[in-house]
Symmetry: C2
Subunit: 351 residues, 2 copies
C-alpha cells in the first residue's frame, strides 16, 4: 500500500515537473528571444609580431565601436538589417579596413567598391559592385533591395539609381588614404620588377595581390529580438585589381547569406574560392538538409571543404538560437561579437 | 543428406549469382559511362496559340542543330566544357534567342550581355556581366575561367581582358535585330503611357519587363564519357533594363552550377528569385546532403520552393548517371536533350 502510494506521488511529481519545465521552455522561448551580433574586418596574414600595440588598439577600439553601435540597435528592439548596416557603416567610415573610406586602389588608381545585404526573414537581398562615388556601399545595397525590383546592380548604372534615390555622392579623393596609395605603388613596383605586366602579354596569367589587403572585407551578422537574422558584407576589393574583377562580397550565397530557418553568414577571403564553394549558402544548406549545428556546418565548410579546395579566409555566422561561430584558416581575422548574454569579445589573431 | 546437399547447391548458386551480378555492374560502370546533353532557350509565356507553325519550326530546327553539335563532341570523346560551349554558341549566334546575336536592348538602346560556365570536375568557373562587344559571351566566361586568376569580370574591364587575350570585338550593330528593337520601342511607349518613367521619380518602384523576353536565356548542361559534368548559361538580359542590373545568369550557384558529385544545372527565369534561392546550388545541395535524386531535388526546388517564393522560370539538369530533368513553372520553355541512349527530344510548350 505504501509502495503504491509513493509510486503515485512520484508519478504525480514527475508529471508536475514535465508540465512546469514545458511552461518554462515556452516562457523562455517567447519572452527571452536571444539577440546578438558579430562583425569581421577581414582575414589574412595578420601577425602579432608585425603589429604595434598602438595599431592593435586602434583596430580593437574601432571593432568595439562598431559592435556597440549595432548591439544598441538590437537592445532597443531595432531590427537586424539596421544593426548590420550601422555596424558596417562604422567600419566603412574608418580608414583601417578595406571597405568604404579605407578601400584599396585598383590598377588604374581608382577605388571600386562592392557590397551586399540579405534579410533572413524574407530572403530579400541587395547587392552592388564596381561603384566609385558612394561613401557607404552597404547602404546602397540595402536601397537596391528595398527600392528596386532588382537584386544586383553594377557600375555607373548602380550610381544612377543611387542618384535618382537621393543618395549623395562623394568625390574620388574621399577614398584617398596614403597607406592604400602606397600599397598600390608597392604592388606596381613589384609587378614591374617581376616583369609581370599583362599589358602586352596575352594569355599570360598574373598573380593577384597576396598582401594583407587581399582579404580586406568587413561584414556583420545579426539576430534581433524578433528572431530575424540578417547578414551584410562590404569591400574595397583587391589592391591593383584589373578587368572589373568582382569577388564574393556582392554575391549572395558566396559572400553573404541569411535565412531565418538556419543562419546568417558573412565571408572574407579569396573571393574566387568562396564563389566556387558557395560558402555562405553551403553552411545554411548543411544545417537545413543534414541537420548539422552551426558549429559543425561552419567548421566543415571553412576548415575542411574550403581548405581542401585551396582557398583561404573565414566567416562569421549566427544561428537562429544566437550561437556564434567565426572559423578562419588564415593567420588572423579581425573579429568580434556581443553574445546573447551581452558579453563582448574582440579578437585579431589565432588563439 | 539430400536436404543438406541441395542446400549447399543453392548457397553455391546464390554466391555465383552475386559474384556474376557484381562483375556485370562493374563492367557496366567502367565500359559504358553514359554521356548526354540538354539545352534550353529560355522559359516564359510561350503559348502554342501565339506561335505560327513556321516560327515553331525555326525554333525546333535551331534547338536540334545546337543539341546535335554538342552531342557530336561528346560522341567523339570530347569534354563537357567543349560541348556546352559549342551548343551555346549556336544559340548565341541565332537571332531567335535572347543571348548573343538576339540579345534584347537596354533602356539606353545598348546590348549588355552576361554569361557563366562551370566545370563539375574541378569546380572552376568563369563569369562575365555587362559586356557589349563580344559575339559569344560564353567563350569569354570560359576564357576568364582558364586564363585569369579571377572568376567574374564585368563591363569594360572584362572587354580589356578579352582584347588582351586576342578575342575579336564586334561592333554594336552586330546585335541589332529589328524584332528586339521593336520590343524596346513597345516597352518604352508602354512606360510613357503608364507614366512610369523613373527619371523624375525617386523612391518609386518600376515594373521590370514581363514580356516573353523577360526570361530570355540560353543554357546547356552536359555529361561526357569521362563522367565529367559541366553547365553554362548566356543571356542578353532584360528588355529596357536600367541601372546595370545583373541577373542570375552570370552568378555561380544561381544561374549555373556543376559538380561531378551531384549534377550540372542551368537556369532561366526571374533572375532575382533565382539568386535569392540559389536555385542551381540548392538542387546540388539537396542531392548531396539529403540524398534526393535529381528528379526529386530539381522538382522540389522549382515546383515547390521557387514557386512558393513567387519566382517563375525553369532549369535543365543532368546528374552524374545521365538522368535528365527540365522542370519549369511557366507556360513554356524552349528545351531539348539527347539522352544516354542517343534519343533526341525537343519541346517548347507544357505537356
Amino acid at each position: 500500500m505504501i509502495c503504491i502510494r509513493s509510486h503515485r506521488i512520484i508519478v504525480f511529481l514527475l508529471f508536475g515537473i514535465i508540465i512546469f519545465s514545458g511552461c518554462q521552455q515556452t516562457e523562455f522561448e517567447s519572452d527571452t528571444q536571444p539577440f546578438c551580433l558579430a562583425i569581421h574586418g577581414g582575414a589574412g596574414t595578420i601577425l602579432k609580431k608585425t603589429m604595434t600595440p598602438e595599431i592593435e588598439k586602434e583596430y580593437r577600439d574601432k571593432l568595439e565601436e562598431s559592435l556597440q553601435a549595432g548591439f544598441n540597435i538590437l537592445k532597443d528592439g531595432g531590427n537586424s538589417l539596421d544593426a548590420v548596416q550601422t555596424a558596417i557603416n562604422i567600419l566603412e567610415d574608418s580608414p583601417l579596413f578595406n571597405a568604404g573610406k579605407g578601400a584599396v586602389f585598383t590598377n588604374s588608381g581608382t577605388n571600386e567598391l562592392d557590397a551586399s545585404i540579405m534579410d533572413g526573414n524574407t530572403l530579400n537581398a541587395g547587392a552592388v559592385a564596381g561603384i566609385k562615388k558612394i561613401q557607404n556601399p552597404i547602404n546602397l545595397a540595402r536601397l537596391v533591395m528595398e527600392k528596386s525590383p532588382h537584386l544586383m546592380m553594377v557600375g555607373e548604372g548602380a550610381e544612377i539609381f543611387a542618384q535618382e534615390n537621393g543618395v549623395e555622392f562623394v568625390t574620388p579623393d574621399y577614398f584617398y588614404t596614403e597607406r592604400r596609395w602606397q600599397q598600390l605603388q608597392k604592388r606596381l613596383q613589384e609587378e614591374e620588377e617581376n616583369n609581370k605586366s599583362l599589358n602586352n602579354t596575352a594569355h599570360q596569367k598574373y598573380e593577384p595581390d597576396f598582401t594583407d589587403s587581399k582579404f580586406g572585407t568587413v561584414g556583420c551578422v545579426s539576430l534581433d529580438q524578433n528572431g530575424d537574422l540578417a547578414a551584410g558584407t562590404s569591400t574595397g576589393g583587391m589592391t591593383n585589381k584589373r578587368f572589373g574583377r568582382v569577388g564574393d562580397s556582392p554575391i549572395i550565397g558566396a559572400g553573404t547569406y541569411a535565412n531565418n530557418q538556419t543562419c546568417a553568414v558573412s565571408a572574407t577571403g579569396e573571393g574566387e574560392y568562396f564563389i566556387r564553394s558557395l560558402v555562405t549558402h553551403d553552411i545554411s544548406a548543411l544545417m537545413a538538409y543534414k541537420n548539422m549545428s552551426l558549429h559543425e556546418a561552419a567548421n566543415h565548410v571553412i576548415m575542411e571543404k574550403l581548405t581542401k579546395l585551396g582557398g583561404s579566409g573565414g566567416i562569421i555566422a549566427i544561428d537562429k538560437n544566437g550561437n556564434i561561430e567565426m572559423p578562419f584558416n588564415t593567420a588572423g581575422m579581425y573579429r568580434g561579437y556581443i553574445d546573447k548574454d551581452g558579453k563582448m569579445v574582440i579578437s585579431i589573431f589565432k588563439n
